[in-house]
């Protein structure tokens, strides 16, 4: 039950885009049509769901203050290394995924290929790992639920914006606002809509 509430919360209330602005750059750049948005969204869910547990284990058994107690070093605090370790895990993982997809699933690669390297620098992925560190999840399962929830939340956000932007092409927008400007304002309005989920307590 607690996990279900965490799942819903990380998906809607603490939505990566609308509550924390994470992954904004690729969110705005790749939301021009639903098809590519769908591909990038799925790739983000996958990478976030795979890297966050790895980072959770690293954080619990290597980085946290006192985490090295199992190695007989209870006083060591490697917390300052967490940024570099997390990003190394994420970058290595995306590179690995890219190579595997390129080798075995060439069709998927050609439709997704350019977005895969982008994911390494997607703030939503590193952000999820850093929030995981801040929130001190008690178990690996909880971390995984959080990862899935925030990944799916990001996916919903990008597909919804892409759908709206496809329709926006037919509307008459002031010249200075065309493109990026109106996209920002649309995201802002969507954010206000998403704020209603803040009232939900599970």
């Amino acid at each position: 039950m607690e996990n279900l509430s965490l799942f819903i919360k990380s998906m809607f209330v603490d939505n990566m885009i609308f509550a924390y602005f994470l992954g904004m750059c690729s969110y705005l750049a790749v939301s021009k049509n639903v098809k590519t948005a769908n591909g990038l969204g799925l790739a983000v869910i996958f990478v976030i769901a795979c890297t966050l547990p790895i980072n959770y284990l690293l954080n619990t058994y290597v980085l946290k203050p006192g985490a090295l107690a199992w190695a007989g070093l209870p006083d060591v605090n490697l917390g300052f290394l967490s940024y570099i370790i997390f990003i190394a895990v994420i970058a290595a993982f995306t590179q690995l995924v890219e190579m595997i997809v390129e080798k075995y699933l060439p069709a998927l690669y050609s439709s997704l290929g350019i977005y895969l390297p982008l994911i390494a620098v997607n703030c939503a992925i590193l952000g999820a790992s850093l929030f995981m560190q801040q929130r001190d999840f008690v178990s690996l399962g909880q971390a995984e639920v959080y990862a899935l929830g925030s990944g799916i939340g990001w996916y919903i956000a990008i597909v919804a914006l892409a759908a709206i932007r496809e329709k926006l092409a037919y509307s008459n927008i002031p010249a200075g606002l065309k493109g990026t400007g109106i996209a920002f304002i649309t995201v802002g309005l969507m954010g206000i809509a998403f704020m209603m989920f803040m009232g939900i307590s599970l």
């Binding site: 602005f21 300052f80 990003i87 703030c123 992925i125 400007g181 920002f184 206000i192």
Partner: protein, 203 residues
């Protein structure tokens, strides 16, 4: 000399990383609730973009193409760790570091840093790369401060924590402090920028 001048001025006006290239939005909007946080964030980004561009430019002939993203990320992550540790070391900035929470760490994945390294530092000499990095940081900081100015003024009626509007009986508008308004204000900043500079308008 004029080329150097262009390297410095272009990222601040015509090629502003936030309003024109739409890079680095991720970490920028969340820190604009108050001017103080925005200022610290801008300075951190200026330092990180400048120095990591310099380092990557020095290394540009030795990095193998295949693994360049990881190498760049390691350089950037190292710079961010240094900035983070410096902020934590002083009492005046420690509170701000706590308030910025994960967003300092997220400078690593700030697209401006990576974007400038990829687009400029890997193909240019160290000194222009350093200037390009610094100038992009300044262009980023400028927008950050504009957005933070409006959000703090309208949201809490203060500037840098000093009461301004509240003295005249203004009550802070809670909506402006919430995330969605940052996006809408930024949208308006882009609108103004593009209305002045018509070349930037999208067809």
């Amino acid at each position: 000399m004029s080329k150097l001048k262009e390297t410095i001025l272009n990222p601040i006006l015509k090629g502003n990383p936030i309003t024109v290239l739409v890079l680095g939005i991720c970490s920028s909007l969340a820190v604009t609730v108050e001017l103080k946080g925005a200022l610290v964030m801008s300075l951190s980004v200026i330092v990180v973009t400048g120095i990591s561009s310099l380092i990557c430019s020095l290394l540009r002939n030795t990095i193998p193409n295949r693994v360049r993203i990881i190498v760049q990320l390691v350089v950037v992550a190292m710079m961010v760790i240094l900035v983070d540790q410096v902020l934590k070391a002083f009492e005046a900035t420690y509170a701000i570091d706590k308030q910025l929470s994960v967003y300092i760490g997220l400078i690593i994945t700030n697209c401006i840093v990576m974007g400038r390294i990829e687009a400029f530092a890997l193909g240019n000499k160290p000194i222009p790369s350093l200037l390009d990095g610094l100038a992009n940081g300044v262009g980023y900081g400028l927008i950050l401060l504009i957005v933070a100015f409006f959000r703090e003024l309208l949201g809490s009626g203060t500037l840098f924590g000093i009461p301004v509007l509240t003295q005249f009986g203004y009550t802070g508008n809670g909506l402006v402090i919430l995330p969605p308004m940052a996006l809408i204000i930024l949208g308006c900043v882009i609108w103004v920028h593009r209305s002045i500079d018509k070349d930037l308008q999208e067809k």
